[in-house]
């Protein structure tokens, strides 16, 4: 009833001619309130980084550790991207860790036992990953068995098959060219002093790209009279992000340059951000998660959406499995244990809703980085696995509790 009126009056658009300072402030707080989760998580990530930078006496941001941080966490970042799409539809996938191990094992058989060339072996592995996803997607989308159960079964099945294929043994080593994906670097050609030129250049280009995107976004919003942040705020945001990007590339430049896997991850982020935000397929995924019945009655083939989201997850799990195998330079029966939990936690820390329909790729990435920095920072400090787990668990709970709390606040309950 009257709540609605009140809400409307609070969020009603402010005419451009209302240049009053207090209005600007109100506008800012209302926008911050609406996006509190995104900003809060990004801020938390920065704070955690600064905290560990101090606690580890500067080791966290040392060039070698930054490179390790990226390579160590590459698998979570890859899985988090696929998992976000699944969580957007209101489902979950518990099998990704087992699938990753399974594909690692299959890849090892292809490359080490059967001597199939690396590119073909990789392609075959990705196809098998897609088939694994199709298998699960079939049961979930068409037979309508809850995803929790199907993927729990998948978790057992593919872990079991991994052990069957490897006969409980570890298979190693892989060819050099395969290891390159997980632990290689872009070739260094020119050096400026001690620094890798390509890394520095990439940093500058990314900064310019970001500035361009940010301003074209604002221009569009203004055109349709949508809420925009005050210019000062935008500029601060841009400066912080540019510092972040260039700090990262500078550090990478000071070590061995840009890791190959970082290129892979950034491409995935860009591609999937585009898919989720700009394409019909992406809109359909959000719609299915937001209200499946309404989506179906709007002409969306909801089964098909669900099926393909799982196929996609299968491919990304396969990719993660290959990266892990390449990094360890071995396929082991225990690989990928608990990966699914890290990926799911990343999405929820990054603001995805457990009932579906809400969440962003960049959020899941931030969530994965929060977990990664916590892991890495605590490892450097010599904190045992026992306490690391405890702390990660509490962070997950705190992030979601914060989400629930802010939502109930904005809903005026």
């Amino acid at each position: 009833m009257n709540f609605e009126k009140q809400k409307q009056s609070n969020t009603f658009p402010l005419k451009p001619n209302q240049k009053d300072k207090t209005m600007n402030f109100e506008k800012l707080t209302s926008i911050l309130k609406n996006n509190i989760r995104q900003y809060a998580m990004a801020l938390t990530l920065v704070l955690i980084m600064i905290l560990f930078q101090i606690l580890t006496n500067g080791v966290l941001f040392s060039p070698i550790n930054i490179t390790h941080l990226i390579q160590q966490n590459s698998y979570v970042l890859i899985l988090a991207v696929g998992m976000l799409l699944i969580i957007l539809t209101g489902n979950v996938d518990l099998s990704v860790g087992s699938t990753a191990a399974f594909i690692g094992a299959v890849g090892a058989i292809f490359m080490i036992k059967m001597n199939i060339s690396v590119p073909i072996a990789i392609l075959l592995c990705l196809i098998i990953g897609a088939l694994v996803g199709a298998w699960q997607g079939y049961w979930i989308a068409y037979v309508k068995i809850p995803s929790f159960i199907v993927t729990l079964a998948g978790m057992l099945v593919f872990r079991g098959l991994t052990m069957v294929i490897l006969k409980g043994q570890t298979l190693a080593p892989f060819e050099k060219s395969f290891q390159f994906i997980a632990s290689g670097f872009l070739p260094e050609s020119i050096k400026i002093g001690n620094l890798n030129f390509i890394a520095i250049l990439v940093g500058i280009l990314l900064s310019l790209l970001f500035i361009f995107l940010e301003f074209s976004n604002i221009k569009n919003k203004k055109k349709y009279n949508f809420e925009t942040l005050p210019l000062g705020f935008t500029i601060t945001k841009i400066i912080i992000i540019i510092i972040g990007i260039n700090l990262l590339t500078y550090n990478l430049a000071a070590y061995k340059g840009i890791p190959v896997v970082l290129v892979l991850i950034i491409s995935l982020i860009v591609i999937y951000t585009f898919i989720t935000q700009k394409t019909i397929a992406g809109r359909h995924i959000y719609a299915v998660g937001g209200n499946e019945k309404a989506a179906r009655l709007s002409g969306i083939k909801t089964h098909r959406v669900l099926f393909w989201v799982y196929v996609n997850m299968g491919v990304l799990a396969a990719l993660a499995g290959l990266v892990v195998a390449g990094r360890l330079n071995a396929a082991t029966p225990k690989a990928g244990t608990n990966f699914e939990l890290d990926a799911i936690a990343s999405c929820f820390i990054g603001g995805a809703s457990s009932t579906g329909g809400i969440g962003k790729i960049i959020g899941a990435i931030i969530g994965a980085l929060v977990m990664g920095v916590l892991n890495n920072g605590m490892s450097i400090m010599g904190v045992g696995i026992d306490w690391q787990q405890t702390i990660k668990g509490l962070v997950l709970l705190a992030a979601v509790a914060f989400d629930v709390y802010t939502k109930s606040k904005t809903n005026g309950e």
Partner: protein, 516 residues
């Protein structure tokens, strides 16, 4: 001594900077039925939430006197202790518990924590008798229709020894027959000394049963009318509610009826779970360009089932029959096929089937036809923004921008979004299922205007409604549906409430064809 059972004096309640209630006074005489009417957002529910303790004492100003004693309720329990029971619009029954368990939920017949099932059932049976139900108290709630569930809610209230019963839109989801039963029950309870407050949008009911009517508008009491003292008719009430004359509740329209557009023959549908049960039996109907046809009938007659089975077989199984559009036979096997052939179905349940409540107005509207604003499957957001903004302006959807969350809109505006979404799909045939349910008089008028415009553009409209007055006011032709069959077809000139009811009665008695 005053004979008021309840006095609410100078009640003012604010949310933030907004005054929801502004010095409202409500006086209820013992043993009367008092109706509370007003548009959505006028403050009816807020007032009742204060009375029942949902908003505790201290969160508002003013005083509440119940039986001449001042009350300061901290929560609902406090008000229930005094016998003030509120029955909300959304029923609060648990579907997989029995009638008896639901009636005594939170008020169990128990000794030291152990439930006395014999007494529970016996008492439940008695209570069911008083509301005129013969169901076994062990029947599960999920097996009952909405009308009976409403009666169970009332017996639940009676089990608490109710003195003042508050009914919030009790007949919103009921058809005319069930509504009559419910209203008669309220009248019976009045004989037994129960005072009732009735909140309703259906003004014919209000003027029928209410002894006094209080009209609220924008958080203020406009007037209180007393039966027998003041002149009471729907026009006077509407004028009080909207603050202006609404001489005609239906916008005028000159029908421009064209060629045959849509024809359905031998349409038969079986129940989705029970393959032996025919829900729709051999239905024929047709629709012309620019025509508005109505489907009248009682709740459960099969109108929604018919519509949904036509719309991409979204309901039922073993569907047989043929559909023709522009004299060409068409297959309507999936929703996307139906949309492609120019069909659109505006659901009766906008929250469950119509809207993605957590998403924006923009995304809700464009979802039916994203191709229209994209190229190579990539959405052109600039184009999308422009087009959707036009819809927002054209249909007067009250919101901050097209990025406003659909769940935060009022019922009427939500309905406009659902309608926009289907107009965006550019259909030729629009099936509107209860498009005005739960929205206020002003929004209804706007809705009718839009429907008329669509018809004048040459689209065919199928209008399903449980409010006969509405069908009579809007439709060029009315099909009466009963028990999954067409019980009769009435032209505008011959359609009256009595004729529609006669059709239904005759059909139920087994006389297939009605001639007028």
């Amino acid at each position: 001594m005053s004979n008021y059972i309840l006095e609410m004096n100078h009640i003012t309640k604010t949310f933030g900077s907004l005054k929801a209630l502004d010095d409202v006074n409500l006086k209820i005489k013992a043993g009367e039925i008092h109706a509370l009417v007003g548009e959505n957002g006028a403050g009816k529910s807020t007032l009742m939430n204060i009375l029942s303790g949902v908003y505790p004492h201290g969160s508002y100003t003013g005083e509440i006197l119940f039986k001449e004693k001042e009350c300061r309720f901290k929560d609902i329990r406090d008000s229930e202790k005094l016998g003030i029971v509120i029955i909300h619009q959304e029923l609060a029954l648990i579907p997989y518990l029995s009638i008896a368990e639901n009636i005594f939920l939170g008020n169990e017949r128990a000794k030291s924590g152990i439930i006395d099932w014999d007494e529970t059932r016996l008492k439940a049976k008695e209570l069911l008798g008083t509301v005129g139900l013969t169901e076994d108290p062990t029947t599960l709630i999920s097996n009952l229709g909405v009308g009976k569930q409403q009666l169970i809610e009332i017996s639940k209230a009676l089990s608490k020894d109710v003195k003042l019963l508050i009914l919030d839109e009790p007949t919103a989801a009921l058809n005319d027959e069930d509504s009559d039963k419910l209203l008669n029950l309220i009248l019976e309870l009045k004989e037994k000394g129960v005072t009732s407050i009735l909140i309703s949008h259906k003004l014919n009911e209000v003027s029928k049963v209410a002894d006094q009517i209080t009209i609220l508008r924008d958080g203020k009491t406009i007037s209180t009318l007393t039966k027998g003292v003041d002149e009471i008719n729907e026009d006077i009430i509407i004028k009080g509610m909207v603050g202006r004359d609404m001489s005609d509740r239906f916008p005028p329209r000159k029908p421009k009826i064209g060629d045959l557009l849509f024809e359905v023959k031998d349409w038969t549908v079986y129940h989705p779970q029970n393959s032996d049960r025919k829900v729709i039996n051999n239905i024929h109907f047709n629709l012309r360009k620019g025509e508005i046809i109505g489907f009248a009938g009682l709740m459960g007659a099969g109108r929604t089932e018919l519509a949904m089975s036509l719309f991409g077989k979204s309901y039922g199984q073993n569907i047989s029959g043929t559909a023709y559009i522009n004299n060409k036979k068409v297959e309507l096997n999936t929703v996307s096929q139906a949309i492609k052939h120019g069909l659109a179905y505006v659901t009766e349940d906008r929250k469950t089937y119509g809207l993605i409540l957590i998403d924006t107005i923009k995304n809700n509207i464009s979802i039916t036809n994203l191709k229209k604003v994209s190229k190579n499957n990539i959405i052109n957001e600039q184009k999308e923004n422009l087009v959707i903004e036009k819809y927002r302006e054209k249909f007067n959807i009250k919101s901050s921008s097209i990025l406003h969350q659909a769940g935060q809109l009022s019922g009427g505006n939500q309905q406009k979004v659902v309608l926009s979404k289907w107009i965006f799909a550019e259909p030729d045939i629009l099936i509107l299922d209860e498009p005005t349910r739960g929205i206020d008089v002003g929004a209804k008028y706007e809705m009718y205007t839009i429907i008329n415009q669509l018809a004048n553009e040459g689209k065919g409209i199928i209008f399903i409604s449980s409010e006969m007055v509405e069908l009579l006011g809007i439709c060029d032709r009315i099909y009466v549906v009963n028990e999954g069959e067409i019980a009769g077809e009435l032209l505008r000139s011959e359609a009256t409430q009595e004729n529609i009811m006669k059709c239904i009665m005759n059909h139920s008695r087994g006389e297939q064809h009605n001639e007028f």
